[in-house]
């Protein structure tokens, strides 16, 4: 009954229009090299501010599904992955395209992406409510450890050195602390500026970090796009289903890896794709062909990155803990729409939540025709002069930041965040922990102080409940294990 009502919500003409618009937008932005799915969502968020919750959230998840696949297109035809999630196998598909097999590379990639995405969506639909039921018994202790786990995993999963990951996280936590303290209501880091009392607005910070910084990078070194390799879209599905049938197990394995890795806080679609590619390379009977351009390498990895989006939505909706920067943004939108993510949403507003889940499932099903259209139109997307695209992106950023807050201070915040993002990326500091820190900081602080008040200052209480204790032990071991490993390694080297 709930599923039917949710479907009806999605079938509203205005909602369908938003979803289709977001699908096209996601495919275009995802296909532009250098733009990320998070950037696409960041630019869309100001618009969702003026939409109802269902079209806003359904639009965002549709966009995410489309953008992650679209990144494969320039990866194959230009050797420039459209999004970081496609980087793991971009060389593999480019090698195929160079041999004149671009159609096979992109056709199998498209079908496998859709299959991986559908797997992730189904897991989300069935696992999230079950987990939500369990998490109804969670207290502030469990939420505290979940937030800690999210933050620690964000550092562990980032590609940067742990010190740089930690610095990014602390920057995010600092940004999240500006304004009124969520527990005592005292002003922090406002320095007498009334504009800062309400905190640094999430959307301008987000746009600055992910979109404006990209414009700055383009400004510093505008890159002319290389000529794309030839492609005959009409021949795209020739022989594809033979490969898909042969590789159904690797696709399933990619879906599982993607969903699990995606659900780990801090690890996103890009890491899922790398892991899936590495596992496929180890287990494949054709492992000697890896690196020379084979669908055996492309298919499991592309299934994993699309499944990762569904996986990341599980902790985001059930616990309010983002799986990656993309779901951190989705959590921000949920809060903006007055829906506090957590198990109670499944009880209070199940129709709305299931509408979002079903939208994600549908997005992955229609990915095949939409993705085919995107591949066929790619030459046109690529012909847009980059200077024009960036000029319009920067104006959309300005308008978006202003529109949401209705103050020029928001544009100044966006500019500051843009410069920060430009500096951080240029110096190999990861951006994902920053956004996770902003989202998780207030949860961490309020649950810590609430737990402390409940336990009357006894820290042992933080480990007294079974799930809290397990989460606490996992978090601590994530911090301690690498240190022990380094210590043992250095001792062995010394002897």
């Amino acid at each position: 009954m709930v599923a039917f009502e949710s479907l009806m919500l999605l079938l509203e003409p205005s909602t369908m229009l938003v979803i289709i618009g977001c699908a096209i937008y996601g495919l275009v932005v995802g296909a532009i090299p250098g733009f990320t799915a998070t950037m696409a969502v960041a630019l869309l968020v100001p618009m969702t501010y003026f939409l109802d919750p269902v079209p806003a959230l359904a639009g965002i998840v549709t966009l995410a599904a489309m953008a992650i696949f679209a990144g494969d297109i320039p990866g194959a035809l230009l050797r420039m992955p459209g999004t970081p999630a496609s980087a793991a196998y971009a060389d593999e598909s480019f090698q195929m395209a160079r041999r004149g097999e671009a159609e096979t590379a992109l056709g199998t990639s498209l079908v496998a992406s859709a299959m991986g995405g559908i797997f992730g969506a189904l897991l989300l639909i069935f696992a999230a409510p079950a987990l939500a039921e369990i998490s109804l018994s969670f207290s502030s202790f469990e939420y505290f450890w979940l937030a800690c786990l999210g933050l620690v995993a964000a550092i562990a999963a980032s590609n940067a050195t742990p010190a740089k990951g930690a610095i990014s996280l602390f920057i995010g936590l600092t940004i999240g602390m500006v304004g009124l303290d969520p527990v005592f209501g005292q002003q922090r880091f406002t320095f007498g500026n009334v504009n800062l009392v309400g905190g640094l607005a999430f959307i301008p910070v987000l746009i600055g970090l992910f979109a404006v910084s990209e414009a700055f990078r383009f400004g510093a070194s505008p890159v002319a796009r290389p000529e794309m390799l030839p492609l005959k879209p009409a021949a795209m599905f020739k022989g594809v289903f033979g490969h898909i049938g042969r590789l159904k197990l690797p696709i399933l394995r990619g879906g599982i890896i993607g969903s699990v890795v995606g659900a780990i806080p801090g690890a996103g679609a890009d890491i899922a794709a790398y892991i899936s590619y590495a596992v496929a390379r180890r287990l494949s009977p054709n492992k000697d062909k890896f690196g020379t351009g084979t669908v055996d390498g492309i298919v499991p990895a592309t299934a994993a990155n699309n499944a990762a989006v569904g996986g990341a939505l599980i902790p985001a909706t059930v616990f309010g803990i983002p799986g990656d920067s993309l779901t951190a943004v989705i959590i921000g939108v949920l809060y903006m729409k007055g829906l506090n993510p957590g198990p109670t949403v499944f009880l209070m507003q199940p129709t709305l939540l299931y509408a979002v889940f079903i939208a994600f499932l549908i997005a992955n099903i229609v990915l095949v025709p939409f993705g085919f259209g995107a591949i066929a139109m790619f030459r046109r997307v690529l012909s847009a002069p980059p200077g024009v695209v960036m000029a319009l992106v920067i104006m959309a950023c300005i308008v978006g930041a202003f529109a949401v807050e209705n103050t020029t201070f928001a544009i100044a915040v966006m500019l500051g965040a843009g410069l920060l993002g430009y500096y951080l990326e240029g110096n190999e500091f990861p951006l994902a922990p920053v956004i996770l820190g902003i989202v998780l900081g207030p949860i961490l602080e309020s649950t810590f102080l609430a737990s402390l008040a409940k336990s009357q200052g006894a820290f042992t209480e933080f480990f007294s409940r079974p799930i809290a204790g397990t989460l606490g032990a996992t978090t601590i071991s994530l911090v301690v294990a690498p240190l022990v490993y380094v210590l043992i390694k250095s001792r062995r080297q010394a002897t």
Binding site: P162, Q186, V212, G219, G387, I394, M395, F402, L415
Partner: protein, 161 residues
């Protein structure tokens, strides 16, 4: 712009210490030991330690080095001007949008950016005009988001379609 990790480390060591010291100035609550300064204290200390770790890593392993301590990636002076142009565009909008209004200011800003990167003035002019109209139509007319009218305020009724 890429800094040597020694500089990055010093920057975050100093920033972390400032945050930790600032946390000491925040009031504690009378009933419990922890107040508003608790999390900032942890964050500041953590940032300072991570900054220190970055410096030590640079010294011990040599990783994260940049010759001359600061390196400018990209197209040298033209690259710096490109970044400056984006920053300048945003600053000009902040300073002038309320007075001049979106519809009159945005075409010039877009024109400047497109002309700088594409060197085609006709294209820049077209994108300036039609890009502005598209953004205004989408955000103001369809999404009903607020945009400043500036000196066109008295014509806003006529210009709203």
């Amino acid at each position: 712009m890429k800094l040597d990790d020694t500089l990055n480390g010093i920057l975050f060591l100093a920033l972390g210490l400032c945050i930790a010291l600032y946390a000491q100035t925040l009031q504690k609550q009378p009933q419990i030991e922890y107040g508003s300064g608790f999390l900032p204290g942890i964050v500041g200390t953590g940032m300072a330690l991570a900054g220190l770790a970055l410096i030590l890593r640079r010294i011990v392993t040599g990783a994260g080095g940049v010759s001359g301590l600061v390196a400018f990636k990209g197209n040298g002076r033209r690259g710096a001007l490109g970044v400056g142009l984006f920053v300048g565009t945003i600053l000009i909008y902040i300073l002038l949008a309320q007075t001049i209004g979106f519809l009159l200011l945005a075409p010039f800003l877009i024109f400047g950016l497109v002309f700088w990167f594409e060197r085609r003035w006709k294209l820049a002019a077209l994108v300036g005009v039609f890009g502005t109209l598209a953004l205004h139509s989408f955000f103001y007319q369809i999404m009903q988001a607020p945009l400043p009218w500036g000196i066109l305020t008295k014509y806003s009724g006529v210009l709203t379609w």
